[in-house]
Symmetry: D2
Subunit: 292 residues, 4 copies
Amino acid sequence: MKIGFVGLGNMGAAIAANLVKARHEVLVWNRSAAKAKPLTDAGAVLAASPKAAAAGREAVITMLADDAALESVVSGDDGILAGLDQGALHISMSTIAVATAEGLAAQHRAHGQRFLCAPVFGRPEAAAAAKLFIAAAGEPADLKTAKPIFEAISQRVFEVGTTPSLANLVKLCGNFMILSSIEAMAEAMTLAEKGGVAKAKLLEVLTGSLFDAPIYRTYGGILVEERFKPAGFAAPLGLKDMRLAAQSADTLRVPMPLLSLLRDHLLQTIAVEGEEIDWSGIARTVAKNGGL
Amino acid sequence: MKIGFVGLGNMGAAIAANLVKARHEVLVWNRSAAKAKPLTDAGAVLAASPKAAAAGREAVITMLADDAALESVVSGDDGILAGLDQGALHISMSTIAVATAEGLAAQHRAHGQRFLCAPVFGRPEAAAAAKLFIAAAGEPADLKTAKPIFEAISQRVFEVGTTPSLANLVKLCGNFMILSSIEAMAEAMTLAEKGGVAKAKLLEVLTGSLFDAPIYRTYGGILVEERFKPAGFAAPLGLKDMRLAAQSADTLRVPMPLLSLLRDHLLQTIAVEGEEIDWSGIARTVAKNGGL
Amino acid sequence: MKIGFVGLGNMGAAIAANLVKARHEVLVWNRSAAKAKPLTDAGAVLAASPKAAAAGREAVITMLADDAALESVVSGDDGILAGLDQGALHISMSTIAVATAEGLAAQHRAHGQRFLCAPVFGRPEAAAAAKLFIAAAGEPADLKTAKPIFEAISQRVFEVGTTPSLANLVKLCGNFMILSSIEAMAEAMTLAEKGGVAKAKLLEVLTGSLFDAPIYRTYGGILVEERFKPAGFAAPLGLKDMRLAAQSADTLRVPMPLLSLLRDHLLQTIAVEGEEIDWSGIARTVAKNGGL
Amino acid sequence: MKIGFVGLGNMGAAIAANLVKARHEVLVWNRSAAKAKPLTDAGAVLAASPKAAAAGREAVITMLADDAALESVVSGDDGILAGLDQGALHISMSTIAVATAEGLAAQHRAHGQRFLCAPVFGRPEAAAAAKLFIAAAGEPADLKTAKPIFEAISQRVFEVGTTPSLANLVKLCGNFMILSSIEAMAEAMTLAEKGGVAKAKLLEVLTGSLFDAPIYRTYGGILVEERFKPAGFAAPLGLKDMRLAAQSADTLRVPMPLLSLLRDHLLQTIAVEGEEIDWSGIARTVAKNGGL
C-alpha cells in the first residue's frame, strides 16, 4: 500500500519500521528530519511536509505527542488536509481528546476525505515487535482499508464503533485503568511493607493468583524495583492523558473520583520528583506519603 | 490426619468436604448443627463444642465470618484454647484483623499451642473445586504440619512470613486490590457507556489486551450483566474487610485514599441499595452517580 | 468619570446602576440590548458595540459570564482593544482563568492600554446594595484610577498584587473556599440528621459558636431549607469556576484533593438533578448518597 | 452545688478551677494526683478514687482524653458507677464515640443514676476564661440540674436533644467542620502561594469578606505562621476524633468523602512529621504535596 507516516517519535518510528518491513511504500515526515534516517535507510522515502507525505497516498497515518502537535500537522498550507486526496484515508493513532477527534472527523468530511481513529496500547518494545493492541473506530469500509496496515503492526485489533472518536474514548479508559492498577498496587505495597511483608512477596501472591495479567507483572516489577527513571512514559504525559479523560468525564457529566485521585497523585509526583519521572512514579509518592 | 474443623458456612463447608474426601479424620462443629449434615453423611463426625472439635487433634481449622465469631469459638470454657492439646496446631483461615491474629498468636503461645494463619482467596465454587489460593504465615514447622491440609483444598500456597498475622495483612491487601479493580472498571464503563461504547465492548478490549486476568473476567462479567443480587459476597462483608484494612493502615500510619474511596462507595451502595447487594454493587453506585 | 460598561447580566446591571447613581457618565453595551433599558432610563447611554463603549472613555469595565464571552467583546473589529484609547484602562471584573487574564494583559500592553483585574465577591443583592467585596490587582497607578469606581460599588477592596491575573487567582480560591464550606456542612448535616439531630439544630450550634460567618449563615440556611431551585448560582457555572481553579492547580503542579471532590460532586449533581440546580445542590447529592 | 470532677488535663483543670471560683464544693480526682495541687490550693478537695469523687455528690463531671480513659474511671470497684448516688447526675464532657455514650447511658440507667453528655468547643484558653461553648443533650430535668455548672464555665449552651449521645454526635460534627476548614484553607493557600499571592494576603481577603469567623482567624493565623509545634491539639488526637466520626458514619451508612480525605491527610502528617505535630499540620502536608 502507498502510505504516508507523520510523527516519528519512539512509538511512531517503531510502527513505521514495521510497515516498511511489510513492504508497504512509506513516505515519512517528522518535525526533526534526523529521526527519519533509520527509516529511509530501510527503504522509506522522506517527504518535505505533512502535505507531501499525504499527497497521492491511499492512507496517511499520524502518531503525535499530543492534540496540538497533531493539529499542527493537519492544518495549514503544508498540512495533511491540504495534501490528502479525496477519498483517501487519515488514520489517527495518537492519544488525543475525544473532542479533538470529533473536530478532525468533521474537517476531513468537509474535504471529502476519510478518517478513522486507531490509538494503540503497548510500550515501544511492543511496537517494535509488532505486538500492539489497537482500538479502532470508523466506518466499516475505512476499517477494511486499514486492515493490511493493522496486520503489519499489531497482535490484535478491537473495533469499538463507527464514530472514530470512540476509539479515543476507549484508549483513555484503558490508560485510566492502567494507572488505577498502579495506584492500587502502590497503596497495597506500602501497607504491606510497613506491616512487614516485602513488596516483591505481595506481588508474587497477586500475580500468582487473581491478578495474573501483563499489567501487574510489568508495572508490579517496576514498583518493586523502583525503576521510575528514566521514564518509559513520563508523568506529564500521563497527566495529559488523565486530563483528556477528565475532559470527557466533564462533558459527559460523569464523576470519576478514582480518576481525580490519580490526577492529584500525578501532580504531587511531578511537583516533588520533577517532570522526568515515569507515570508509575505515583508509587513513590504513595510510599512517601506513608512515611517510607 | 486428625483434624478439627470449626465454622461451616459456604466456604468452611466446602473446604471441610475436601478434607473428608482426602480421607482425613475430620471432627466438625458449627453454631447451627444442621449445616454439618452433608459432612457427617460423607464421613465427618459431629463434635459437641469447639473445645471437643479441637481436643486430641493434630490440627484444628477455623473458618468464621468475622473477628467476633472467631473469638467466641476460641475463648471460654467450651473454646478451642481449652481443648487443643499442647503442641497441636490452630490454622486460622478466616479474614480477620491483623491485631486479632496477633492476639490469638499470643494466647496460643501462652497455652503451649501452635498457631498459623492461612486465609484463602477464592469464592465458594473455587473452594468446592479445591482450587483456592492460600496466603499462609507461621513457623516453618507449623507450615509443614499444615501441608497435607493445604494440598487437599488449594491450587497454590504462598508463604508470606513467619509471623502468622502477616497472612491476614496480605489477605486484606488482596481484597483491597479486588475492589479497587471493580471501582476502576465501574468508572471506565460508566464513562464509556455515556460516551457511546457499550460496557461489554470495553470489557472485551480490556480483557483481550492488558487486563487478561481472572479478576477482570469474573467481575467484569458481573458488571456488564449487573448481577449484583443475590450477593456472592455481600457489601457489608466487603465493608468489614475494608474496615479491617483501614485499621491496619491507621495503626501503621499509611494514608490509602483509594481505600477510603472504596469504603465511601460501599457505604453509599448499602445506604441506597440495601444490605443484600454484592460488594461489586459499587458499580451500580458509580453508574447512578453519573446519571445512568 | 467617563466609563464604558460591557456585560449587563444580573451582576453587571446592578454594578452599572450604582455607577450611574454615583453620577459617573456611563456608556453601556450588552449582547441583548433589552437588558440595557433600565440603565438608559436611569441616565446611561447605549453604545453600538464594545468598541464604541470603550472609545473615548477613561475606563471600560467588563463583567461577562465566562472567558469566551469576555474574549468575544475584547477582540475583533468591534472589540474593546480596537476602541480603547491609548493609556485608558480596562477593568475586568469577570471570573475568568488566570491564563486568560495573563493573555489580556499582554494584549492591552501591546496596544498601549492599561489593564487591571477586579473580580468581585457577592451575590446580585450585594451588588445592588453596593456591598461587594473586590479583589483587585494591577499597577498602583491603575488601581488609583479605578478607586472612584470601586467606591461606588463595593464595601471593601483588597489589593492583592501588581500582576492583574493574581486577582483572578484569589477569586478562584475564594469560590473554592465557599464550595468547600458547603461540602463540609452537607456531610456534617447528613451525618447529624441520620443520627437524630436536625440540620437546623446543627447549624444553630455551628453559627452560634466557631462558624459565625456570613458564608455559613447564608448557605447554611439554603441547605436547611433545601432551596436549590431556582439557582442563585447555577451548578454548571460553579463547575466552570472549579475547572478554572483546577487549570491553575494543574499548571502550578498543586494537588488539591478537596477541589477534586467538589468537582465530582458537582458533576454528580448536574448528572442526576439537571443543569438548573444551584451549586449548593451538592448538598442534595451528599444527602442522597447517604440514603436520605 | 456539691460536685465531683474526674480528669484534670489541660481542659479539665481549667474547667474545675472555674467551678471552684464560682463557689461550688468540688471534689477532684486525677490519675496523677500532682495535677490536682493548684485546685486543692484554691479550695477543692482531693478524692481518693473516682468512686469517692462521685459519692454523695449532686453531680460528677468527667473530662478524659478518650473512650478508654473514661471507661476506666466509670467501671470497676473504684469507679463512678459504684460511687454515684441513686438519682445523682453524671455529666460527661469528654469527646467520645456515640456508641460509648450510648453504653454509658444504659449503665447509669441500670444503676438508677442520671446521665447527660456535654462536650465542649474551645481550646484551653477559652476554658480558662469560662468562654466555652457547650453542646448538651439529656433529659430536660438533667439539663436543668446542670445549669449552674454550665453557667460557671461557658459562654453559651446549645441543647441538641434528649438522648445524651446526640451531643457527642454534634461535637464530632463540629470537629470535622473545623478540620475541613483547615484543609480548605491549606489547599487555597498552597495554590495562591505557588501562583504568587502570599498566604497572609489570601487570609486577609477571606477573613475580611465572607469568612469572617473565629475559626478562620485562629487557624488561618496558625497556617500563615506555620505554628504547628508545639501542638495545641495533637494530630493523633485529631485522628482519634475523625475516627470516632467515621465510626458513626459507618454505623449510620453515611459516605463522607471529605472526612476520608482529612483522615488520610492526618495519617500522612503523622507518618512524615511525627506524632507531636498539631492537627492543623495537615496544612504542611498539603503544602509539601504541592512541592513547597
